[in-house]
């Protein structure tokens, strides 16, 4: 196990540990990783980013996406998927406490981006100025060259609002989507 302080949550494992575990095909099974929500979220994101990097980065020049885009996004993912605070999700009559972690909401927003054609999600920020206030969301994205940006942004914004507001009592305030990059599709490079 790595001893650096690049630890995923309180799992005791670093990003490098998880990357190596994934490269080994998750064999032999490490229970402490398989049973840890934050490790699982990071692994899922690594798998997604691995697919994307194979589809995009290996097939094209580094521009217009920065050469280090994979590392940059994984650093963001690491930061986001640290569970963060617990946000009340619903009130029940029997006293059950139901909460959702900030990390789960970050993962949800990234899921929305995965479902929008031609979009790669970069940075996600959540802000709740007051307890019980609506959540404000800021997202930066890269849009594939040729896709109308306003359509991609609208689809992201609507998707985020719908996905988050489906969750219990959560409400969304502002959703700011910024296009910070443009990337090319594999076939356009060939």
């Amino acid at each position: 196990m790595s001893e650096n302080n690049d630890e995923v949550g309180s799992s005791g494992f670093s990003l490098e540990d998880l990357s190596a575990y994934l490269d080994r095909g998750r064999v032999p099974r490490i229970a402490a990783i398989e049973r840890d929500a934050e490790c699982q979220a990071v692994l899922a994101s690594m798998e997604r980013m691995g697919r994307l990097s194979r589809e995009i980065v290996d097939e094209q020049a580094a521009e217009p996406l920065a050469e280090s885009w994979y590392d940059d996004i994984m650093r963001e993912v690491m930061r986001e998927f640290r569970a963060g605070r617990d946000i009340p999700l619903a009130r029940t009559d029997d006293g059950t406490e139901i909460v959702v972690t900030e990390g789960a909401l970050y993962e949800l927003i990234r899921c929305v981006g995965d479902g929008v054609e031609g979009v790669i999600v970069g940075r996600v920020r959540l802000d709740q100025p007051e307890p019980d206030a609506p959540l404000d969301v800021r997202v930066s994205i890269s849009v594939v060259f040729g896709r109308r940006m306003t359509d991609a942004v609208d689809e992201m914004r609507d998707g985020i609002r719908t996905a988050v507001e489906r969750q219990g009592d959560l409400r969304v305030g502002r959703v700011d989507v910024t296009v910070g990059d443009v990337h090319l599709e594999e076939e356009e490079e060939a």
Binding site: S10, S11, G12, A31, A32, R35, D36, A37, E38, Q40, A41, A44, A83, D86, L89, A90, T92, D94, G95, T96, E97, I98, V99, V100, T101, G103, A104, L105, E107, L108, C111, D114, G115, A163, R166, Q167, G168, D169
Partner: protein
């Protein structure tokens, strides 16, 4: 006074939680010290955290939910299942459900 020990109840809870529709996976809700010990000893302890106090019992479970579901609804059903798992106990527990992941539905 509880009739079922925490150690007996926790595995029961693990079983019922993952059977609830919409639960993608259950994760460890146990304190970091317990998880650190399990990692060092390479043992699979229970996922649910069951803590007994004076005349009370606190149960925490940690779940991932498929993102196309209302996780609050899924969590409420998980809480019902947790209570049912210990229904032969004389103590009514306080239940906490923590949604730690919202996962894309399988395509």
């Amino acid at each position: 006074m509880t009739d079922i020990t925490a150690a007996e109840l926790a595995p029961r809870i693990d079983t019922v939680v993952t059977a609830v529709d919409g639960v993608h996976q259950a994760y460890s809700a146990r304190p970091i010290v317990a998880r650190t010990y399990e990692r060092a000893a390479d043992v699979d302890g229970s996922l649910a955290a069951v803590h007994d106090g004076r005349g009370s019992r606190d149960i925490t479970v940690c779940i991932g939910v498929t993102a196309d579901k209302d996780s609050a609804d899924v969590a409420a059903r998980v809480a019902d299942a947790v209570r049912a798992a210990g229904s032969d106990d004389s103590v009514s527990p306080r239940v906490r459900v923590r949604v730690a992941r919202l996962v894309a539905p399988a395509s």
